[in-house]
């Protein structure tokens, strides 16, 4: 007995299946969007936090660090750095501001970005906001 | 084009009507179990067993898998048995 396996059916499955799952995905994303106010800490997004995000982006911090686990794995996770630094934006600012210009011999060191006081405050506030996102208790512990 | 030699005719109507009635009765039993508020491991496993039998009937008689010599009938049986076993195990674990 011959087997029936037609190209047109395979094609229909490709189009139908893709459309089906795209619609399902859209429905789930739509539901997620409507639930975000519960988790994304949006009440903490001030203008300063928004500026902080821009500072974060314009210095390519993600090129070494991870934020909520995404980014590079060369330097510590920063989604919880605010809590790791004892719930202190001052400690974050002090750390960033005190990086040596020429690095540390033989070791990894964060560059000195020469941030203005305003930018420094903003990026610290941004990290504080990030630590308030409810993300299913990740990372597993304070070390990130 | 496939010739109408009869090799394609593999399920007759009458058995399938029996299957249909069987499926209705089994579903009725399942529903009654719920209505009577029956619970517990043995009841659950019986209900599950009925569901797997129903699945096999659909596969064999409606999907036309009965009498297949290759792997395709086994695909459905495996599909019924493995989740069935996992569900059974999970329900035993609770007790």
């Amino acid at each position: 007995m011959s087997k029936t396996f037609t190209k047109s059916m395979a094609r229909n499955i490709f189009y139908g299946g893709s459309l089906f799952f795209m619609l399902l995905f859209a429905a789930l994303v739509f539901d997620s969007e409507s639930s975000l106010p519960d988790t994304d800490n949006r009440q903490a997004i001030t203008e300063e936090v928004a500026l902080g995000k821009l500072v974060w982006e314009q210095n390519n911090c993600i090129g070494c660090h991870s934020l909520l686990g995404e980014g590079a794995y060369f330097a510590p996770e920063l989604g919880n750095v605010y809590t790791r630094f004892g719930n202190s934006t001052e400690a974050i600012k002090a750390f960033i501001a005190s990086r040596p210009k020429e690095g540390i011999p033989g070791r990894r060191s964060m560059p000195q970005f020469n941030l203005s006081e305003k930018d420094l405050n903003a990026v610290a506030e941004f990290l504080k906001y990030s630590s308030g996102i409810k993300n299913s208790n990740w990372p597993p512990n304070i070390q990130g | 084009m496939r010739a109408a030699t009869g090799t394609q005719i593999f399920y007759s109507i009458r058995p399938c009507t029996f299957v249909y009635l069987t499926l209705v009765v089994l579903s009725l039993v399942t529903w009654l179990t719920g209505q009577l508020g029956l619970s517990g491991l043995s009841i659950s496993l019986i209900v599950l067993g009925l569901a797997l039998i129903k699945g096999l009937l659909i596969g064999d008689y409606y999907m036309g898998l009965r009498g297949l010599t290759g792997v395709w009938r086994w695909a459905i049986i495996v599909w019924l048995v493995i989740p069935g076993a996992l569900i059974t195990w999970a329900f035993i674990k609770v007790q």
């Binding site: 499955i13 893709s18 982006e57 314009q58 390519n60 993600i62 060369f74 510590p76 560059p111 299913s136 | -």
Partner: protein, 459 residues
């Protein structure tokens, strides 16, 4: 080469290989920075090297895809390219924009680059893989539109085949999903949500269509198996890829502030993502076993088979390893992710571009079907050196990742990040050594283009 205009693929392929070399060099720099922290500091800090490494990867793969499209669409459509001039113009636009961007990364601090390019007007920079200045992103969109227009017009006037159709859908999807890179809300969770629309729906979505189409084309050409059979398989494989891959996006939504149900949806669907890759492996080997002729270009066949295997290992197996939410809870953002990323990108996308280059380059350089035996032997050597060293890079990073998870995450007494990194030093050194072997493989690959070029073709 059957059509004159296929020749425009050549500069694309050459640029791809050139940028590939750059990518590997910067990879080696980063690998060294992992163990000698102040290497090239502060001239080329790690974040700059990484940005160059990943952006070069994306750009050279895109060059490869475009070259592949320009090569195979005329041949499939059985007509000349709509406008070879436009293709050539876009080549230079893309190359110059890419080169300027990379130079910008290297020559000025990133913040200065952001300022120079007016990032604050429409902030899109500074997100992983999307570091390009907004103006470059707009350039990419323009190049993509011109490219798609050129291909579309060619396809319209010629024969329509499944391969060109699938390739075209994949490329359109690539362009469409890239548009999400312009969406960058202040809300970090939403930023990340739509960022994945670019990244995931590229590499685990539409790029797989491109991969499948190129692989199918090379298999039709090198095995002589009936087109009907290959196209059928292609449809089934890409259908499965999208069925599992679209909802599979959910495996990125576990820990970024999205609802908990993604842990289930994402785990279940992404656990099935290896299936299409597995089918691709079965498919490729099947077709080669059923071949109706022995194609003289054995190197291309090797690349095609290698792609199917390595894509399955890298994207399928290594992806599955850490895709389930309870596992991912501990492995998310560790060297395990890096290990998976390396093998998956090399196995799926780098290798498919090398496959089509291997198949097309001899014709583009005026040969009938294949390079000389000498050249092919060198190319096969480079295949094995690069592939095996990539396996080792992956294994060493995996080992580093496991140790990292154990000491930093999955323990009652978690160590700080930097303390853990020091304990991983040995693995990083071994990874760097494997990386050097990879570079040697790449050098031999380039030599293979010149060796034996005046000798006759392999029969």
């Amino acid at each position: 080469m059957q059509y004159q205009s296929q020749a425009v693929a050549k500069p694309y392929f050459i640029a791809a290989i050139g940028l590939f070399v750059g990518q590997i060099l910067f990879g080696l720099i980063m690998g060294l920075q992992y163990v000698i922290g102040d290497f090239l500091f502060p001239e080329i800090p790690f974040n700059v090297a990484r940005m160059v490494h990943t952006n070069l990867l994306i750009v050279w793969i895109l060059f490869g895809f475009m070259g592949a499209a320009y090569y195979l669409v005329p041949e499939e459509s059985e007509c000349e390219l709509y406008s070879p001039k436009l293709a050539l113009l876009m080549f230079w636009v893309f190359l110059i924009a890419g080169a300027l961007t990379i130079l910008g990364y290297l020559l000025v601090p990133y913040a200065t680059l952001a300022e120079m390019t007016g990032n604050s007007l429409l902030p899109t920079m500074g997100r992983e893989f999307l570091e390009q200045p907004t103006i470059t992103k707009i350039g990419i969109v323009i190049v993509a539109l011109a490219f798609l227009f050129n291909l579309g017009m060619t396809m319209l006037k010629g024969r329509k085949t499944v391969i060109t159709l699938v390739l075209f859908i994949g490329l359109v999807g690539l362009a469409v999903f890239f548009l999400f890179s312009f969406f960058n809300p202040d809300n970090l969770v939403r930023d990340k949500l739509y960022w994945w629309f670019v990244v995931h729906l590229w590499v685990e979505g539409v790029w797989e269509l491109i991969l499948g189409a190129i692989l199918a084309f090379v298999l039709i050409k090198t095995t002589g198996v009936d087109r009907e059979v290959i196209e059928k398989w292609l449809y089934v494989i890409i259908a499965l890829a999208l069925i599992t891959g679209i909802i599979g996006t959910g495996h990125h939504f576990f820990w970024i502030g999205l609802p908990g149900y993604w842990q289930w949806w994402g785990s279940i669907f992404s656990a099935l993502e290896p299936l299409p890759f597995f089918m691709m492996t079965v498919f490729a080997f099947n077709m080669v076993n059923q071949r109706r002729r022995n194609h003289p270009n054995q190197a291309a066949v090797l690349w095609a088979l290698g792609t199917s295997v390595m894509a399955f290992l890298g994207a399928g197996v290594w992806g599955f390893m850490h895709t389930l939410a309870p596992v991912n809870y501990y492995t998310h953002g560790t060297q395990i992710t890096a290990a998976h990323g390396h093998m998956a990108f090399y196995g799926a996308y780098a290798m498919i571009v090398l496959t089509i280059i291997s198949y097309a380059m001899p014709m583009l350089r005026g040969r009938k079907a294949a390079n000389s035996g000498k050249s092919q032997i060198l190319e096969m050597w480079s295949f094995w050196l690069m592939t095996v060293s990539m396996v080792f890079i992956t294994l060493f990073l995996t080992a580093a990742g496991v140790l990292q998870v154990y000491t930093q995450r999955y323990t009652d007494n978690p160590q700080p990040f930097m303390a853990v990194q020091e304990r991983l030093e040995l693995f990083y050194w071994m990874r760097e050594a494997a990386g050097v072997v990879f570079l040697i493989g790449l050098i031999i690959y380039i030599i293979s283009f010149f060796a034996g070029s005046n000798e006759p073709e392999q029969a």
